[in-house]
Amino acid sequence: MNIKLNSIVTAMAASFVILAVTADDATARGFGGGGGGARGGGGGASSFQGGGFSRGGAAASGSFSSGAARYGSEGGGSSAASVASSRSQTAQTASTNRAATQQGWQSTSTANQAQRQDSSAENQQQRQATSSQNQDQRQNYSNQNVQTRQQTAQQYHGTYPPHAGYYPPPPPAGYYNNNNNNWDDGEVAAVAVGSAAIGAVAGYAAGQSNASESQSAPATTVVYTAPPPASGGLPCNPNTSVVKGVTYYQCGTSWYTQAYGNGGVVYMPVPAPY
């Protein structure tokens, strides 16, 4: 029985060792390029010859904030509208979380503040007791006067106008807008730039194709062959024109100009210069 039990334990240990080594080997093989996981596959040397790899994305911004939706698409199918919606939600969540965070970070100072408040509260209670008595007396006189004035005003104007402080006061100087916390939110901005540029061209095309249509008609209703998004290269060998000092590049009916974007110098689709 001893021998049997020892054999079982030894066999289990051996199996464990084999499994550990196998897993290690699998990792090593994965690094080597064979097999591959769910997203591994393909990717031979020829893949690298075509170039065109994206240098963008959330991490390229190197910012302390990101507008990337949770495991959302970084490019391709994401529309400006969905990005805007996502960004709005993010801003709201961020605002809530910032409030919670500040509460957490302020917990230490709150404890100290509580002690100070305890001692000052006693003094304040004494002062308030005295001042309350005085205030009661003043309010009695004041209420009588206000009632008199209100009755008089209603007689003349029907309704009493709102007092001067009715409208919410403007934010104090140095007010920190929530959106400012996302000022370095680079990735969403990169998507927005491309979308805005294409949208502008689509809107322009709408005006050209049907001048009788209202200019405020949504660009999304226009059937238009969108030019390629801003990229480092043009889709053709273009005709070049210089109009008022700006160089334009023409590919068919599409016009482009060079611009500096967050990925470097790119060609942006623009309205025809003439």
């Binding site: 020892n6 959330a58 700006v246």
Partner: protein, 288 residues
């Protein structure tokens, strides 16, 4: 019987434990960044490590130290993950030389891993981005100092300037307002320089920062993890050659268009370009 069983069990378990430890050690060797400390330089953990509150003090001490530095130069190398449409994650890298002279001088020289170079200049009046290989530049007026210019560059012009928050005089407030949690990870060393390793979390980014020990609490390394982005890509930056008292002249921040250079717009401003609103040739400057 019990004795025999214990002996057998002990032998078998020893084999398993030794094999497992060997596997772990091997794995650790593979993943250990070469910037980490050698065993000889790692400070001994005899002293209790700082608490969360002390971690916050360390973080803000670093942030205040940078914010109050009137002039500094530093070299930075960074690399970042990009997730391709195929799902493949690639890493790109770049080198930067930064010169800051508060309140109005900022110069960033950038070289990307494929050799493309860019120069960013701000002199208190104009901000300029120049691409020497194509000999083109974009320029726009912006008064108000580095803080205003950097925020405008990223928020309005949608340009890219990694770790821009570190350049702001309000960096302490920025990092404090964004941080939701902060931990002291360990005392370690980078290239032999003792430092504190902190890990913080913001709403959208988890960050790690290694802060030099001593009277100059400078960041030596920063890692950002974009936890909400697909693939959770990282941005990793290493800082070298900090100089808190450089000699820099104001001319270092002024852009003089090279011969034959051509002025172009910022991409974010292109949508506002209309034939009637195009700048005159005199305003364009450089090669037409």
């Amino acid at each position: 019987m019990i004795k025999t069983l214990q002996k057998g069990t002990r032998n078998a378990l020893c084999v398993a434990i030794l094999a497992t430890l060997a596997g772990c050690a091997e794995h650790q060797t593979v993943t250990q960044p070469d910037t980490w400390a050698s065993p000889a330089t790692v400070p001994q953990a005899a002293v209790p490590e700082p608490t969360e509150a002390e971690a916050k003090d360390l973080l803000l001490r670093m942030a205040n130290y940078l914010a109050q530095a009137q002039r500094f130069t530093v070299a930075m190398t960074d690399n970042y993950d990009t997730l391709q449409a195929s799902g493949q994650k690639l890493e790109f890298s770049e080198k930067r030389n930064l010169t800051v002279s508060r309140p109005n001088g900022l110069r960033v020289e950038l070289e990307e891993s494929h050799g493309e170079k860019h120069l960013f200049l701000y002199d208190g009046k104009d901000m300029t981005v120049f691409n020497p290989s194509q000999n083109v530049y974009a320029q726009t007026a912006k008064a108000g100092g580095i803080d205003e210019a950097v925020v405008y560059l990223l928020k309005d012009l949608h340009m890219r300037l990694p770790l821009a928050a570190l350049l702001l005089s309000r960096f302490p407030a920025e990092i404090e307002s964004r941080t939701q949690a902060l931990d002291y990870v360990e005392k370690t060393a980078i290239h032999g320089v003792p430092c504190h390793h902190l890990a913080g979390r913001t709403e959208t980014v988890d960050y790690q920062v290694w802060i030099q020990e001593g009277t100059q609490p400078l960041p030596l390394r920063i890692v950002l993890t974009y936890k909400n982005a697909e693939g959770q890509p990282q941005f990793r930056a290493q800082f070298f050659d900090w100089n808190l008292s450089p000699i820099v002249s104001d001319s270092k921040f002024v852009f003089t268009p090279p011969a034959e250079s051509r002025k172009i717009a910022f991409a974010a401003q292109v949508t506002s370009i209309a034939p009637a609103a195009i700048a005159t040739p005199e305003a364009i400057g450089g090669k037409q």
